[in-house]
């Protein structure tokens, strides 16, 4: 496996290639870094659909999909990743290695043409996305915003973010506000996309089974016609911690309650915070699993995630109505255990082993490699393709305990389930 950065003479565009012969396919991603605000959030969400559903070359809905099918299940997708207070508008194309098509067809050229067509020649006219396409995409978005109600775990996390990060861009829901989504026009969306093409810093990451200069050449040619004046985006956006934690409560018409606790911190190195999070959840010996689930029987799944860019650790679980406070207390007790050093040495070692395993697993798939490179750039680091991380290995019990003492409980969200007939 090797990593290289072909020269990309375009302002604010960096290209990274990773070559790994074990892969059956190719993956190409383009990350556009954009600032996050309430007005543009629904437009970013719309762009993920508008730019992958059709293009000037394939204007009819379904035509692009048929073309991708014919290219042996080539795929073009887009998503939004919230990174701190900014957004990573992220397009990914993946396709079968030419050598593995039945007749060794050179499909790479065709896929590149499709990708560039979608991004640079969208289905638009006179400074506006096609109105019919736009109407379909907007309805999809509104349905998606309404659909969050069906996924109570996601819904709880969204409400917790709105409380914990109130007043910060990170509080804006991923798909934006429904009312704003209803008022966006195809002209505004098209103008925003043109602005993004000209001003967003762009990371291009290609993960390939073998070197293929035609990919970089096609991208260079594609972006050559765009006059770019990139506006830098700041990824790291630590959220201020409240002096006293805030409790937000609501009722939901389901049988299980949802609980989210947001801890914030300052001055914990990223790897230390990640290891602490792993000690909380992620292995069969993690504190939340062993104590909150197995010992107390309070929940089926209690997990912790780390947001390096917001400097926060978010813990969430589903819990039987009436036991929300017991679960919150049990979770807080695990944080206290980290802070007082009341954990076995083996927990720390197992978390390190689990971190190394996760690094190895990432290197076993094109998407894992791509994620790892993109995440490194997001954190301002140089991507590495090694499994062992000496900085993680060197962390001691004292380092971890000291860091854990900087975790402050900021927000507790309880959504109380009200459908009592199912409760045992």
């Amino acid at each position: 496996m090797q990593i290289c950065q072909p020269v990309f003479p375009g302002s604010g565009i960096r290209c990274t290639e990773v070559i790994d012969p074990k892969l059956h396919g190719c993956l190409l991603s383009l990350h556009f870094a954009v600032p996050r605000d309430a007005r543009t959030a629904p437009m970013h969400a719309l762009l993920t659909d508008l730019l992958t559903a059709a293009s000037a070359d394939y204007p009819e809905i379904g035509a692009l999909s048929a073309r991708l099918d014919a290219l042996y299940a080539a795929d073009l997708s887009a998503s939004l990743i919230l990174c701190g207070d900014s957004t990573d508008l992220h397009f990914t194309a993946s396709w079968l290695d030419d050598a593995l098509t039945p007749d060794r067809l050179p499909i790479t050229d065709a896929v590149l043409e499709l990708v560039l067509g979608c991004l640079l020649r969208p289905h638009a006219r006179n400074g506006s996305f096609d109105p019919a396409l736009f109407a379909v995409c907007r309805q999809n978005l509104i349905d998606e915003i309404d659909g969050i109600l069906g996924n109570k775990r996601e819904y709880a996390l969204q409400l917790a973010a709105e409380t914990a990060f109130a007043g910060e861009p990170a509080a804006i829901p991923p798909q934006g506000d429904r009312d704003l989504a209803e008022t966006v026009t195809p002209q505004e969306c098209f103008a925003l996309w043109q602005d993004i093409l000209q001003t967003a810093p762009i990371e291009i990451i290609a993960v390939l089974p073998r070197e293929n200069p035609q990919i970089t050449a096609a991208l260079r040619a594609g972006f050559a016609g765009i006059a770019r004046t990139p506006r830098p985006v700041t990824w790291l956006a630590p959220s201020p911690c409240r002096a006293e934690p805030v409790l937000a409560e609501d009722a939901i018409a389901v049988s299980q309650s949802k609980l989210v606790l947001v801890y914030k911190y300052r001055n914990i190195p990223r790897r230390t915070a990640e290891l602490l999070t792993k000690m909380l959840s992620g292995t069969g010996t993690s504190l939340l699993f062993v104590n909150v689930r197995e010992r107390e029987g309070l929940c089926y799944d209690c997990s912790a995630t780390h947001s390096a860019l917001k400097c926060a650790v978010v813990i969430e679980c589903g819990v039987q109505p009436g036991r929300e406070q017991a679960a919150a207390d049990a979770i807080c007790a695990q944080i206290e255990a980290l802070q007082t050093g009341d954990f076995p040495d083996s927990l720390c070692e197992e978390a390190k082993l689990s971190t190394e395993y996760a690094a190895a697993l990432a290197l076993d798939s094109a998407s894992g490699i791509e994620n790892r490179v993109a995440a490194a750039y997001c954190c301002g680091e140089t991507p590495s393709l090694t499994v062992a991380d000496s900085a993680v290995r060197a962390l001691t019990r004292a380092d971890l305990t000291e860091a854990a003492c900087r975790l402050r409980l900021d927000t507790v969200l309880m959504l109380h389930g009200t459908e009592t007939e199912a409760n045992p």
Binding site: P21, K22, L23, H24, G25, D49, I61, G62, S65, L68, D69, L71, Y72, A73, S94, W95, L96, L100, P102, A132, Q139, D143, E144, D146, G147, L149, G150, R153, I252, A253, V254, S255, Q256, T283, G284, T285, V290, R293, E294, G297, L298, C299, D301, G318, Q320, E349, E350, L353, S354, E356, Y357, A360, L361, L363, D364, S365, V387, E419, A422, N423
Partner: protein, 427 residues
């Protein structure tokens, strides 16, 4: 003992298959280019194994017992097995499906030790009453979160309730809050004794490991009984659905629906062939490039959550189209019309060829990680298919005539049930 090697001519990957009487079947893909290993131990004991005959005697266990057993297998006299995997840096877990329970791990180091833990995990039943009671609370939360509160799961299992009269596939894999209340340590020991036999297991390993490592780990897995395996008893199931329409309400933003078509099950390689055909035909009739999809989308009758799938096993076969719609009955009628039209005028042959190309690409691209390869080997073994590469081998022979036959035999209105979850009325 027999040892065979099957090589995929397209990718060069090869699978070693080892069979020995009284021992689990072993399937191995040595992939030295990868960093990790995935090992999956499948037991032919799923949620449908709730009534069976053994030595002439009939046994019945409550719905959800196989899943409960899966949870409790991690307890052992030496403590939680998860702790032992974690000490090796291995990521372990398990899941129960309708026809199987699978215990698996993935790891980057300590591979021989982790491999040896898998047989120990499934061979050491240890069910203390208080631990079983505590697990009931945990599984109760799992049932609440997924079976009761998830609209996706609710609309799916409601569909199965509408499609099937008596087949246990109509019951949730995890059971219900009332069925798990009946599960006792004695029932768990019984199910374990009858189904968790080495000759009822398959061990599939892929990634950076060797055949010798797998053989050494599996050496301790050998049947101590010559008794025949239990026979799973399935009730007789009518060919038509139990209900044409089944609906309920819950707190959702938009109406959810699943349109299912029930048809005759098949087994072995024919099951894979018919599943492939079913997937292709659904894509042809209702995939994103079909006239049906375009028309429904442009009328606002579906959105981009719409998807199709084949839900198949050796004793059930259903083709499903699901999504969100304010008018699911109109979507159903349009789907019926598209299927009838295809039966009358034939299918778009060029489109069928494109979809076969896509299915080929999917198969090759998806089988490119140790976990995916181990899963592909296990799926094949569970369906009594020798080659994990059978998907790409079967595709070229599928014809437009096969597709038309599939539509006529498996997608007729009389075979359908529409499951709907409506939003609860605002209070």
């Amino acid at each position: 003992m027999t040892r065979t090697r099957i090589t995929d001519p397209l990718t060069g990957e090869s699978c070693i298959c080892i069979r020995e009487e009284g021992a689990p079947e072993l399937r191995i893909m040595e992939q030295p280019g990868f960093h990790t290993v995935s090992a999956q131990l499948g037991v032919r004991c799923g949620s449908v194994c709730c009534r069976y005959r053994k030595n002439g005697q009939i046994f019945t266990v409550p719905a959800g017992t196989a899943h409960f057993l899966e949870h409790k297998m991690f307890d052992s006299p030496a403590g939680d097995m998860a702790v032992r995997f974690a000490a090796l840096g291995a990521s372990e877990n398990a899941f129960t499906a309708f026809d199987r329970t699978v215990y698996y791990f993935s790891a980057q180091q300590n591979i021989p030790q982790a491999l040896r833990l898998l047989p120990a995990l499934v061979q050491t039943p240890w069910f203390l009453p208080d631990r079983v009671d505590r697990e009931r609370l945990i599984i109760g939360q799992e049932i609440q979160e997924y079976s009761l509160d998830s609209p996706e799961d609710r609309v799916f299992f409601q569909l199965l309730e509408g499609l099937y009269h008596a087949h246990p596939v109509r019951c949730d894999v995890a059971g219900s809050l009332s069925s798990i209340a009946e599960i006792t340590p004695a029932l768990l020991y019984q199910l374990h004794r009858d189904f968790y036999r080495p000759d009822n297991m398959v061990l599939c390993c892929a990634g950076n490991l060797t055949e010798e490592q797998v053989l050494e780990a599996a050496a301790g897995l050998h049947c101590e009984t010559a008794e025949p395996l239990p026979e799973v008893l399935l009730p007789s199931e009518p060919g038509t659905p139990r209900l044409p329409l089944i609906r309920s309400e819950m707190d959702v933003g938009k109406t959810q629906f699943a349109l299912g078509f029930k048809s005759a099950p098949v087994q072995g390689t024919e099951l894979l062939r018919q599943t492939l055909l079913g997937e292709l035909v659904l894509d042809l009739l209702a995939g994103p490039s079909s006239p049906f999809y375009r028309s429904m989308l442009s009328q606002g009758l579906i959105n981009d959550t719409f998807a199709t799938s084949a839900f198949t096993g050796s004793s059930w076969f259903a083709l499903i189209a699901e999504g969100e719609s304010d008018e699911p009955e109109r979507v159903r009628e349009a789907f019926f019309a598209a299927a009838a039209d295809a039966c009358r005028t034939g299918i778009d042959e060029q489109r069928f060829a494109e979809l076969k190309a896509a299915a080929y690409g999917d198969a090759v691209l998806s089988c490119n990680s140790p976990a995916a390869c181990a899963e592909a080997m296990l799926d094949a073994a569970m369906w009594e298919i020798d080659s994990p590469f059978a998907r790409t081998a079967l595709l070229p022979a599928l014809t437009p005539e096969d597709a038309c036959r599939c539509i006529a035999e498996r997608l007729m209105p009389a075979q359908s049930c529409l499951s709907v979850i409506d939003p609860s009325p605002a209070e």
